[in-house]
């Protein structure tokens, strides 16, 4: 269709610890790689959208231009928690869709190796008399005293809440989800970790926030990913090979969290994901059963479970039996996180929302090597950033 948008080129760096490379080295590799993959250059780009959450106040896009080409195009530096990469991509998609330009570049980059625990313990009292301050009128830091603000603890509760509502969850069940993703990553040479763990190893590893042990948490690491998007009209002027490898963006959706009763107490990652998925399936004109693979935001093993339900990969309340059926293993009916997911491939925050698109594109193009999902035609990529933002993209193989 005339207003279709396509991924023309896409690239991700190896995820892991890049001691000798800075943020711009990684972003430049991703950006140059994406343009080379698409057979285009910086001169073809009409917009650049860039994200780097840890450097959110820096002009990341303009800094990148100094490394890959200062052509004077508009730059949008975006920051949207763990959905930053998806937001950059969607910004480029909106620019092309609006007709402002016919090609755009989106980049997400993060240096996060060794970052440790994220969030929590933000405020410290600095004098010796109790003085209420802030919106809770608190006299002492509340993190750890009134619940937890740490990511592993927040997402642990999200999984436990699902278990309370529908039953069937256990420490072992959540550990089995992690076992799957670590097994999947052994086929992904770009994953930060490629080590298979036994269930016992996962359950006996260091407990971070029950029921999440260390291998059940997303891996902080360095990495970047970038994508070139192109309009349908422009794509038709390019070579047959470029048209054949182009991947159609059948849906591009971003939502924020609508008010729900308990969302002020424990973030509600369910409602906005379900809304994004519903809109995405409508836009794409397909249903969950049409998906050949899904990359979803398994920032913790407990999170993956609830997103089976939120993305409607299973019937409502049915995530536990769905997982237990083996459906989400790479040889199952709906392979989930065949890249290894955030738990094993890694989670360089702003890169994640483009890296998961890269994974899906790789399979749709038939270029995924040892981990290729045979005959993949349709895939879905999902990210969530607390606060909250949810990005869902549905991608389809080119018919050319």
């Amino acid at each position: 269709m005339a207003d279709d948008i396509w991924i023309l080129g896409i690239h991700m760096t190896k995820f892991g610890k890049h001691t000798d490379r800075d943020t711009m080295d990684l972003a430049a590799e991703a950006a140059l790689g994406a343009m080379k993959d698409g057979g285009v250059t910086i001169q073809d780009m009409g917009i650049l959208a860039a994200g780097n959450l840890m450097g959110a106040s820096a002009p990341t896009g303009q800094m990148l231009q100094k490394q890959i080409g200062q052509t004077g195009i508009p730059v949008y530096n975006v920051s949207n928690a763990c959905a930053t990469g998806a937001t950059a991509l969607r910004t480029a998609i909106m620019a092309v869709k609006s007709g402002e330009c016919d090609m755009g570049l989106a980049v997400g980059v993060e240096k996060l190796a060794g970052a440790g625990l994220l969030a929590g313990g933000a405020r410290k009292s600095d004098d010796n008399t109790f003085t209420p301050s802030g919106r809770y009128g608190s006299v002492a830091p509340v993190d750890g005293r009134i619940g937890t603000e740490t990511m592993p603890g927040v997402f642990a509760q999200i999984g436990m809440e699902y278990g309370h509502k529908y039953g069937g969850t256990s420490f072992e069940l959540f550990a089995r989800i992690s076992e799957k993703n670590h097994a999947h990553s052994t086929l992904n040479p770009l994953a930060a970790y490629q080590k298979r763990f036994t269930l016992e190893e996962i359950m006996n590893d260091i407990m971070i926030a029950y029921p999440n042990t260390r291998p059940m948490c997303s891996a902080n690491c360095d990495g970047a990913a970038a994508a070139v998007v192109v309009s349908d009209a422009k794509l038709k002027t390019l070579s047959l090979e470029q048209q054949r490898r182009a991947v159609k963006v059948s849906a591009s959706v971003l939502t924020s969290d609508p008010y729900t009763e308990s969302c002020q107490i424990l973030p509600d990652v369910n409602t906005l994901t379900r809304r994004a998925a519903t809109t995405a399936y409508e836009q794409a004109g397909i249903g969950p059963s049409d998906l050949d693979l899904v990359e979803l935001h398994d920032c913790f093993a407990t999170a993956e479970l609830v997103h089976y339900d939120n993305l409607m990969l299973c019937e409502e309340g049915g995530a536990v039996p769905f997982f237990e059926s083996g459906a989400t293993w790479r040889d199952g009916s709906t392979p989930v996180n065949v890249s290894g997911g955030l738990e094993s491939k890694g989670h360089p925050i702003a890169a994640t929302g483009i890296a998961n698109i890269w994974e899906v594109c790789h399979h749709l193009r038939g270029e995924a090597g040892d981990r290729q999902i045979e005959g993949a035609k349709v895939g879905l990529a999902h990210v969530i950033g607390l606060g909250s933002a949810c990005g869902v993209h549905i991608l389809e193989k080119s018919a050319v």
Binding site: T129, P132, D143, R145, M207, Y210
Partner: protein, 132 residues
Amino acid sequence: MGAQIPIVDYLALEPAPHLVAHECTACGARFFDRRNACAACGSDAGFRPADVPTEGELRAFTIVSLAAPGIPVPFVAGVIDCGGTSVRANVINTEPDPEHVTLGMKVRLATYVLGTDDAGTEAVGFGFEPAA
């Protein structure tokens, strides 16, 4: 005994310790922090104080083993359903393990002294303890 001050302003110590929410006068949504207008309905009609039941059911929890410096671990953090109002709190006065803390367990509000400042004022914290 010196004066006492609650850890947060939504913990009322008198006549018996209980939590007080800000309830939107337009739609009834409840918040524990100060709000400029209502996140649920957008109304800026204002908020009235609403007492929250001191007993509830544990709807979600985690046992945190890795926390910010200065926070004793492990501790249990959870979400308590207090008669339809969700409350964030630690589960206290019980062993922090999955044998003693279970989904759906009945809990009740409990307070404890967090510390004393140079003026002799005690800060009072709260949590929820098993009600059985």
